[in-house]
Subunit: 168 residues, 4 copies
Amino acid sequence: MASKIIVGVMGPGENATPDENDMAFDLGKAIAQHGWVVLTGGRGFGIMESAMKGAHDANGLTIGVLPNDNERNASDSADIKIMTGMGSARNMINVLSSHIVVVIGMAAGTASEVALAIKANKKVILLHQDEITVRFFKNIGTYKVMIANTVEETIGMIKDYLAVHAAH
Amino acid sequence: MASKIIVGVMGPGENATPDENDMAFDLGKAIAQHGWVVLTGGRGFGIMESAMKGAHDANGLTIGVLPNDNERNASDSADIKIMTGMGSARNMINVLSSHIVVVIGMAAGTASEVALAIKANKKVILLHQDEITVRFFKNIGTYKVMIANTVEETIGMIKDYLAVHAAH
Amino acid sequence: MASKIIVGVMGPGENATPDENDMAFDLGKAIAQHGWVVLTGGRGFGIMESAMKGAHDANGLTIGVLPNDNERNASDSADIKIMTGMGSARNMINVLSSHIVVVIGMAAGTASEVALAIKANKKVILLHQDEITVRFFKNIGTYKVMIANTVEETIGMIKDYLAVHAAH
Amino acid sequence: MASKIIVGVMGPGENATPDENDMAFDLGKAIAQHGWVVLTGGRGFGIMESAMKGAHDANGLTIGVLPNDNERNASDSADIKIMTGMGSARNMINVLSSHIVVVIGMAAGTASEVALAIKANKKVILLHQDEITVRFFKNIGTYKVMIANTVEETIGMIKDYLAVHAAH
C-alpha cells in the first residue's frame, strides 16, 4: 500500500436532482478508475451516496466523514466511516483531507465546503454550476476556483493538478 | 447576571475596507447600547476588531472565538477569549453561539460562516452586500437570509427577531 | 473592560457528590471574588452548575462551553453560552480557554479534560482527589499537576500562577 | 468492498519504549491478518507508526487521523490521511471512528483517548498497563475497560466483541 490520493466530492443530500446524482455517479466511477479514493460527507443520500456508488462500480475505495457520533445515519456505501460527532464543523475535515475538491449541485452545507476549501488554499472544481454560483465563488476564490462542465473535463483538471502537486 | 443575548458580527480580517470597518464599529457600538454581547472571530483585524472596539466604545462585552490554541494572535479587544485550536472549523462555533448573525464585507471565511449559519437554521443579516452575494445566499438560504443597508435597519431586524425568539 | 482571566472548573455532572458540589460552589464564589471568570462545561448539573452558582453568589461572570448545538440542555447559570455542537471534543476548548484548570470529583469526561490540559501544557490543580487519581496524573503530567485539599489552597495556587504568567 | 471494521490503536509517540513499539507492531500485524483496518493518530512515531508498519507487514489498510491541517507531519505509513486541523481535539474522532480501542503505553494524549472512549461508551482494551493506570481507568470506566497482557489475548477480546456487536 502507499499513501492514497483522495478526491473530495461534495454536494447536496436529499435535494440533489436526478441529473446531479447521475453526474456524481459517473464522477465517482471515473475517480476510482484512476486509482484515487472518493471522500464524501458519508450520508446515504444525493451526491454523497451517488459518488460512492459510482466508485464501487469501479471497485474503488470510499471514505465517509460523518457529522454524527455513531454509524446509524451513515451510508453503507462508505467503506471507511470517520465518525466526528461535530455536525457541520466536519465539513472542514472533508476539505482538509481531500487533495482536491469537486462540487456538484449547491446547498448551504456544500457552500460552506467550497468556502472552507478556498480559505484552506485548496483547489475546488465547480462542476456544472449556475452563473451566480460561479461568479460568487470566483469573487472570493479567484484562481483557486476552477470551472468544469463535464466529468471528463473534471478528471483532466484533477490529473493536471496532481501532476504538479503530488509526487508519486 | 442573566443569560446574555449574543450577536455575531462576521466579516473579513485584513481585507476589510475602511468603509466596512466604520460600519462594523457603528454596529458593534449599537449592539452594546442595546445590552447585547458582540461575538466575533477574535482576531485583531478588520470587521472583528472594529466591531469589538465599537462595543467597547459603549462599555459593552465582547467575545472572541479564536482559531488558535493560544492567545498570541488574539485581539486585546476580546474581553473573553475562547481558544479552539480548530482553525476555520471554529466558524461553526461562532455561528452556533450567536442568537443572530450580521455579515459585513465578504471573504472565504465569512462566506463559510454565512453558509454554516443557514445550514444551522440561524438568521443571517447581510449588511450592505453586493448583488451577486445577495442572490447567491438568497438562492441557498431563502427566508433565513435578510438584507439590510444600514446599521439602524440591522438593529431593527435584530430587535424584531429577538422579540419573537428570545424570552427575557 | 479588559481581557479577563478565566479559571476552568471541571468535574462530573450527575454523579458529583454533595460534598463535591459544596466545594465547587465555594470555589466558584472565591474565583468570582477575585475578579476572575468561571468557565465550565455549561450543563445544569454537578460541579458545572455548582461552580457557576457560586460565582453568581459573588456577582461573577460565568461561561459555559456546551457539547450541544443549541441551548436546550444548557444551564441557566451560564451567562455566556458557547455552543460547540462537538460533543465531548469540546473538552479541548474548555481547557484551551482556561488560564488554569481546577478539578473537583472525577469521571470519564473530567479525566479527559485533565489529560488534555496536561497535553496542552496547562497547569491543573487536582482538588481533594483520591490517591490513585493523583498518582496516575502525576505519572503523566509531573510538574503540570498540582495538588490541593482546600479552596483556600487552590486560590493561593491560582494567584501564584497568575502572578508569574499573566500580566495585568 | 464492504464497510470495514476499524480497530483503533492508541499510545505515545516519541516516548514509547522499544518493547511497547514491538508490541504495537505485532498488534497491527495481527489486526491486519484478521481483515480489520488499523486506525491511529497518524504521526510517524511510537505506537502509531509501529502499529501501522505492522499492519503493512500483513498487507493491511491503515488510517491516520492527524491533528494537523496538512500532510507535513503525517506518517507515510498512513494509507489514508484524515487531516483535522483540530490538534488534540481529534482524539475524539479517533475514538468515535474505532469499533474498539486498544491502548499500549501511556501519556497525556493517550489518557485523553481512553477517557473519551469510556465517555463515548466504547470498549477499551488496556494492553500491558501498570497497576495505577488499570485501577484509575477501572474506577471511571468499570466494565467498558478490559485488561489484556498479550497481543493474542487482545485479538481474542476483539473477536468476542465483534461477534456480538458487528453484523458481518
